[in-house]
């Protein structure tokens, strides 16, 4: 969150710095959804949402978010995080290997 030391993005930026920035962006995005689904729809707007019900069921919507919907969304968030982060990890390893190879070529 406090990475002010990072240089501006360019072709030669350390891939680790880019990786960390992407990580933070993904994390903050997911946490915003987390807050909206759980604390927002489940609590703050629950009384308002309760005036509707979920599709054709007997669930009042606010109640549904508090006891079912938020949990479903939470599971989905962690799934997205695991898939996206593990892909970022793999890309980082690739680009680090790439840089090393280029550097070795340049040295030779």
């Amino acid at each position: 969150m406090k990475d002010h030391s990072a240089p501006p993005a360019s072709a030669d930026v350390d891939p680790h710095v880019l990786y960390w920035r992407k990580n933070l962006r993904l994390m903050i995005g997911l946490l915003i959804i987390w807050a909206i689904a759980g604390l927002g729809c489940g609590v703050l707007w629950a009384d308002f949402l309760n005036e509707w019900s979920l599709f054709d069921t007997g669930y009042p919507l606010g109640f549904w978010f508090a006891q079912q919907g938020s949990i479903l969304i939470f599971v989905l968030l962690i799934l997205i995080y695991a898939v996206a982060m593990n892909r970022l990890d793999r890309r980082l390893k690739q680009s680090v290997a790439e840089r090393k190879r280029r550097k070795a070529e340049a040295d030779a």
């Binding site: 406090k2 946490l31 987390w34 604390l39 629950a46 606010g62 962690i78 695991a82 982060m85 980082l92």
Partner: protein
């Protein structure tokens, strides 16, 4: 075959399974003992985490809480699962990359301070013991109801079983036993829920059944339930913010539970057992998926049980009382004080006749019942109205712990299902207890003995100390189970509040800020702990009126105070940071390593570096 024989059969089989797994997975070194050799596959670790996480409270008490609280019970569902998201995104992969054994390890190394390590150790031990006490009580409840043995004998049996597999196999034994325990507890929870949902609504899936129409009534289940609830003065089941918590309190309790969950040491260490951060992420997903199976079903069990409870009891005469009532009456978790008309009334008003014994002694309860009988017989001239006495003690309504255990009986399900639920309750209690005992063991033997007191201790000695500490901890936990302190439920609020106010901010800042140094972190942690603990002690034990903080006219409930403790911790730490020096080069290097995925740079392997 009756329920008791079925129960002996299931409990005996499941205990045999746990012991067999323990023997198969016994360990010889500290790495195996504390982190299962870091070789647990992600999905298996997810299952073990789920079993570790879902305690007797989740299995036995949570649905009961939702059942009596209605909408507001959702704070536990959202709090505990939402906290898991924080844990999986903000903490787990990084601490796995850090690659040590315990949470105090991270706090001590990141902030380069033995004081910080010590504060963390004390918090970890306190939180774990609070939790273990609850588990042992769960074991006692199951044993006394289903096997009709004395609670003491039940707790002793539980202690011996946990002791055997925890000392033999350490984290490895515990992990694989927890995988087995997950299957026992989840099947035991789901089978009755499916059966009841089908019986009431004709829909097999309980989550769908809860939103469906009642069979033969042509009205949505919730409409019917809300109607009954309102007729009896309980207030609508689905409407928010009716009970003792207003919106501010519901919000703060949820947030405190979320942050507290993310800071629970026994759950964090589970992520130390997988191969690498990638597996830690997957394991987080599997864990929440497996947890969700129970957490999405609990609201259905809660709603259906509420319906059976209100419909089955109200208007029943002595002869019409359902069978489950009589079998649970013996345990004192539910009782009926008639006003003389011979008909049960369970309501929110002064005419309520359903109560629980709570922490009253047998003699005290008998005295109240005797004087109440006098009161009824004399038409109010002599004796004392027992209903008023119990109501003023806050003992109205049945004990929430019977909801899950009694629901299969309420719905008239087969005897083997009822017995299986008992085995599930025991699995939930034992799996969590064993995970907690390992945290206590590692806090004392690793953090305190090895890292602070005697850094020269050899591998064999550390393993021996670890096993001995588990032995001592099992005995203390067992004593808690046999002689439960009357304040267990208040203390649980304490555990979450403290975890939220101490560990959560400090671990998150430790990972995401390079700038936060030793002194701000210690000050933040101490101010969070002192504030939270102080508020809970003052309001719960010393009758201090609740503070409103300018947000809530009701005042902030002690369960919600962790949110404020957490904010205070963040504020103090970040506020002091600019005035103190940056962390050393060594710590900067540590942070850099924790943030990077494994093998991306040829860094020093932490585990094999000279220090360890």
């Amino acid at each position: 075959m009756n329920i008791q024989i079925w129960t002996y059969l299931f409990v005996g089989l499941s205990f045999g399974l746990y012991l067999g797994i323990a023997w198969w997975s016994r360990v010889r070194d500290t790495q195996g003992f504390y982190v299962a050799g870091r070789g647990v596959p992600a999905a298996a670790n997810g299952m073990a985490t789920a079993a570790d996480w879902m305690s007797a409270a989740s299995f036995i008490s949570m649905a009961g809480l939702i059942s009596t609280m209605g909408y507001a019970g959702g704070v536990y569902l959202m709090g505990w699962t939402g906290g898991f998201v924080l844990l999986a995104l903000l903490i787990a992969p990084y601490l796995r990359k850090f690659g040590q054994y315990t949470v105090p390890d991270f706090v001590g190394d990141r902030f380069e301070s033995q004081i910080a390590r010590l504060v963390a150790v004390v918090c970890a031990i306190f939180i774990s013991f609070t939790y273990v006490a609850g588990q042992m009580r769960g074991v006692g409840v199951v044993f006394s109801r289903f096997l009709e043995v004395d609670v003491t004998v039940g707790v002793l049996i539980g202690m011996v079983i946990v002791f055997m597999y925890a000392t033999l196999g350490g984290m490895k034994g515990i992990t694989w036993t927890q995988v087995a325990q997950y299957w026992v507890l989840i099947t035991a929870f789901l089978v009755p829920a499916f059966a009841i949902s089908f019986k009431l609504t004709g829909t097999l899936l309980p989550q769908a059944g809860l939103g469906a129409e009642l069979i033969g009534e042509g009205i949505f289940f919730f409409e019917k339930l809300n109607q009954i609830q309102e007729d009896l003065g309980f207030g609508s089941y689905t409407e928010p913010f009716l009970g003792s918590w207003d919106k501010v309190n519901v919000f703060c309790v949820t947030l405190a539970l979320m942050a507290g969950t993310a800071g629970l040491p026994h759950v964090i260490v589970r992520f130390y057992t997988v191969k690498n951060p990638e597996a830690a992420r997957w394991s987080g997903f599997w864990a929440l998926l497996f947890i969700a199976a129970l957490y999405l079903t609990a609201p259905a069990v809660a709603g259906f049980a509420r319906y059976y409870m209100l419909e089955g009891l109200n208007g029943a005469t002595e002869e019409e009382l359902p069978g489950w009532f009589q079998s649970w009456e013996k345990t004192g978790l539910i009782l009926w004080l008639d006003d003389g008309d011979g008909v049960v009334r369970y309501s929110a008003g002064d005419d309520n006749e359903i109560f629980r014994t709570g922490s009253l002694g047998v003699a005290q309860m008998a005295d109240i019942a005797r004087r109440h009988q006098q009161f009824v017989d004399s038409g109010g001239e002599r004796g004392v109205d027992g209903r008023k006495v119990l109501r003023e003690m806050g003992l109205s309504g049945p004990d929430r712990d019977i909801i899950v255990l009694a629901t299969p009986e309420m719905a008239g399900l087969a005897e083997w299902i009822i017995a299986f639920v008992a085995a599930g309750g025991l699995a939930a209690a034992l799996s969590t207890a064993s995970g907690l005992l390992l945290v206590i063991s590692s806090s004392v033997a690793h953090d305190l003995y090895y890292r602070i007191l005697k850094p020269t201790a050899g591998e064999k000695e550390r393993l021996l100390v670890g096993r001995a500490v588990i032995g001592v901890a099992v005995v203390i936990a067992g004593l808690f189970g046999i002689y439960p302190p009357g304040f267990v439920s208040e203390v649980v609020a304490f555990a979450f509040g403290l975890a939220a106010a101490s560990f959560f901010p400090i671990i998150v800042l430790g990972i995401f800020s390079r700038r936060v140094g030793t002194i701000p972190a210690i000050c933040g942690m101490l101010s969070g702990i002192v504030f939270t603990a102080g508020y809970i002690i003052m309001t719960v034990f010393m009758d201090m009126p609740l503070w409103s903080f300018g947000f809530s006219e009701q005042g902030i409930s002690p369960q919600a105070i962790g949110t404020f403790g957490m904010l205070l911790n963040f504020a103090v730490t970040l506020g002091l940071t600019p005035w103190f020096k940056r962390p050393s080069e060594r710590v900067q290097e540590l942070i850099r390593q924790v943030r990077e995925p494994e093998d991306s740079t040829p860094a020093v392997e932490i585990e094999t570096s000279a220090e360890h």
